[in-house]
Amino acid sequence: MSTEQQIQVSPSRRNGQRQFFRLNEIIAEQTGANRSLIAILQAVQEEYRYLPEEVLTYIATALDLSPATVFGVATFFAQFSLEPKGHYLVTICDGTACHVKRSMSVYDAICRKYDLTEGRLTTPDMLFTLETVACVGACGLAPVMIINGKTYGQISPEAAVAIVDKLANREEKEE
């Protein structure tokens, strides 16, 4: 097995059991008349950081829905991802305010530095995933970048790349 593959499976190695038990808790919380597929998918994505196929099938089984229907709901909403995401989720806001403040140049700078392209927005070592979002409601701070819940306001392309670099270096040292 190459190093790259090892890194890819490592998050589930550490968390498989807890995640799977949590998945069952989430489903159990939502059963009954008011069970809501979207709420389950949101909570499960929080746990797994994306929606693996087999987990979607498991949810369908538990809720007596067809897997095709669950897949349909999961692919309809942009908030759900069926691809594994990196350890750090780098979100660039591209709402109107951020856009006019040139948020896409921030996005492009990170793409260039980490060799990311449309359709391949996660680094091969699974450390970063880059994505855009249409307005996080922090227009006063435009342009805005969010990394794993932490918000960086009035960010320049250079500053954004520097922050991502710093996180990458820290991970390297820890390893």
């Binding site: 498989g16 979607l56 099938t57 538990a62 067809s66 897997p67 349909g72 692919t75 309809f76 909403f77």
Partner: protein
């Protein structure tokens, strides 16, 4: 709702119609629509049926209930413009290679394009060609021909209760597809082909096997034998402008001879044989009170459905192969030898109303000395295609009759093609067998209240009675099975057919646009039964002969080996597992099934317990624990596999002992 409504300046009374579209069509206006289907829920997706109402403005007539005093216009310049735009938009992304399209001439999109005189599409094509799914044995799915009407989606979930297909993604990227974009061959599709019948275009079509049949017909070393199913004779004529339900057996046999088939047999003969075997099996179970109710097994879509969803019922399924497989087995096993041929020298073709039979014929268990018992299954529609390709003028053919000995059937064999037929055949055989008298009358089936598509009859025998139910469509079967489980309903024999009304409206039949054709085909079948002087399979001399020569008696060992089969559980979606405890250096590998039935039987508890045991013994770095989807042992779950050893019915109480024995000992 009552009252009157004005449609194009004409007054019409409201007579309980659910929606405006129904009422407008009664006013002799053929309003266009893709997503409106006579037996599915209203959807309102395609917007072709928009009309203008005086106060409400533009409304989709299919999803608006009629109200007193409405003033409707069905054609105005603005409506025309809107409909044309919708069509243009649909056509913009459509694979418009009509000349080589299977549905050309029967395509709703093509028909409406012509009707609205669209000769120019203003919009450019925005989407690259998507791959066709040709892996299924029964059907082909071509997303490039899809108009997103959702008829297949609703048919599969509303009528069949399965939901193989659904909409996925959003906006311009919306597609209809199976879960995770997998092939139909990799998911729980039973191959009934009802989605083909519901599709207005060629997005879902029959998987053709014509080429292999032409090849066999031109091979001088093959003896090509054909058999035709009961329901083909009442529908084939429709392909040649004949009336629905008209019996065209004679012309069909003549056409098959002209095509070059060496011997032409009737699957109804094999249906007689099925009735004999199935009755013997049923009476045995009935006397012993075992594995009841017995479910029929003639419908391959139902069999596959049961394998996917009701592994607990597999012991209750009749072990009888479906009629055409029985005849295939006779031909390859006994007839070939008598003729001095090997099974490979004979090429058996089944002409079926069905697409699920295509999958059935490819089951590995249905082979003789490595040769498939049935080499090719072609649908009614494919046979019509072959007849046309050869230039045979069907209407002008002189009637011909089947060959003997496998071409003669009793009335009982003839009626296998519609819901209630198999049960009637079994009743006739059973009464004959129990009383020694020829059955004089048929028992009337009465609808079961609260259970659509379910009918029942009670046959008095001796001091007791045999309770029989028939059900058609798998959605209705699902409901019936639930009621059997709770004890709300109780039967000794349950006949299941996957298609509405039975094989007469199978996925391989000519397309129909209303329930009337279905009714007429069933009527045709009943007529064919009445035309036979011999109504019960026991009276069929050639059936007697087959038992004398080869099979001894119904239910004998040799009959079992030749005519019966077994079933296996099938998973819903291929190839998935969830890691629970992932060891760095795994030594022992444990998989716990979390497929539907194991999940219901408490496999999650098993996982929790195993995880706890692994933790307690501090083996987390040496034992791999995975939740896996379906080990295909659903009837005996929860299933656990430890280092390749399958354990069934694992309860939490048994786990510590199993763990000690199979895991801890191996590690010490």
């Amino acid at each position: 709702m009552s009252g009157t409504i004005t449609i194009d300046q004409k007054q019409l009374p409201i007579n309980g119609e659910d929606n405006l579209l129904e009422l407008i069509r009664k006013a002799s206006v053929d309003l266009p629509a893709f997503c409106y289907h006579f037996e599915l829920s209203d959807f309102g997706a395609c917007r072709m049926c928009i009309v203008e109402e005086e106060k409400m403005g533009f409304i989709a007539s299919c999803s608006t209930p009629p109200a007193d005093g409405m003033v409707i216009r069905t054609t105005t310049p603005r409506l025309q413009r809107m409909r044309r735009t919708i069509l243009e938009l649909l056509l913009a992304d459509h694979d418009r290679d009509c000349t080589i399209c299977e549905r050309s001439g029967q395509c709703r999109l093509q028909e409406l394009t012509l009707r609205f005189g669209i000769d120019n599409i203003r919009f450019g094509k925005d989407i690259e060609a998507l791959p066709r799914d040709e892996l299924s044995a029964s059907l082909v799915r071509d997303p490039n021909k899809c108009v997103l009407c959702g008829n297949c989606v609703r048919n599969c979930s509303e009528i069949q209760g399965i939901g193989v297909l659904d909409f996925a993604y959003r906006g311009a990227r919306v597609r209809v597809m199976p879960a995770f974009g997998k092939s139909l061959a990799e998911v729980e599709c039973v191959g009934c082909g009802q989605c083909i019948q519901a599709c207005p275009t060629a997005a879902l079509t029959i998987k053709f096997e014509i080429d292999s049949v032409w090849a066999a017909l031109s091979d001088p070393h093959k003896r090509v034998i054909v058999q035709t199913a009961p329901a083909v004779r009442v529908a084939l004529g429709e392909e040649f402008a004949g009336k629905a339900g008209a019996i065209s057996t004679g012309k069909m046999v003549a056409a098959l001879r002209r095509l070059g088939f060496h011997e032409v047999y009737d699957t109804c003969f094999a249906a007689d044989l099925t009735a004999m075997e199935e009755t013997a099996e049923f009476l045995h179970r009935f006397e012993k009170g075992e594995n009841l109710p017995q479910f029929t097994s003639c419908c391959p879509a139902w069999v596959k459905y049961a394998e996917h969803f009701h592994s607990e019922l597999l012991d209750q399924l009749s072990t009888c192969r479906s009629p055409h497989q029985m005849l295939g087995a006779l031909l390859k096993k006994f007839y070939a030898r008598e003729q001095g041929l090997s099974p490979q020298d004979i090429f058996v073709v089944s002409v079926m109303p069905c697409t699920a039979k295509k999958f059935e014929a490819k089951r590995p268990e249905f082979t003789t000395e490595g040769s498939p018992d049935v080499d090719a299954v072609i649908s009614t529609h494919e046979l019509a295609r072959m007849i046309r390709e050869m230039g045979i003028v069907f209407e002008e053919l002189e009637d011909d009759s089947y060959d003997l000995p496998f071409g003669f059937a009793s009335g009982a064999g003839t009626i296998f093609g519609y819901s209630g037929g198999v049960s009637t055949a079994v009743i006739r055989t059973a009464i004959y067998k129990l009383s020694g008298k020829r059955p004089a009358v048929d028992f009337a089936f009465t609808p079961v209240e609260g259970f659509p598509n379910v009918n029942e009859t009670i046959v008095p025998v001796g001091d007791g009675a045999i309770r029989i139910a028939t059900v058609h469509t798998l959605g209705a079967a699902k409901k019936l099975i639930a009621a059997l489980r709770t004890g709300e309903l109780s039967y000794h024999l349950v006949e299941v057919m996957a298609c509405p009304g039975g094989c007469i409206s199978g996925g391989g039949q000519p397309l129909i646009s209303d329930a009337q054709a279905r009714h007429e085909r069933a009527q045709g079948m009943r007529g064919a039964d009445k035309l036979q002087q011999i109504r019960a399979p026991q009276d069929n001399l050639f059936i007697k002969e087959v038992y004398q020569r080869w099979l001894e008696q119904p239910g004998s060992d040799v009959a079992h080996r030749t005519l019966h089969t077994g079933y296996t559980s099938r998973r819903r979606v291929f190839g998935q597992f969830i890691p629970v405890v992932a060891a760095e250096r795994p030594v022992v590998d444990i998989k716990v099934c979390v497929g539907t039935s194991c999940h219901l039987r408490g496999s999650y508890g098993v996982i929790q317990e195993l995880a706890a045991l692994i933790e307690k013994q501090q083996l987390t770095d040496r034992v791999n624990l995975e939740a896996t989807f379906c080990l295909e042992q659903c009837d005996r779950g929860p299933s656990v596999v430890i280092d390749g050893h399958l354990l069934e019915g694992v309860s939490e109480e048994r786990l510590p002992a199993i763990f000690e024995e199979m895991v801890v000992k191996n590690l010490v």
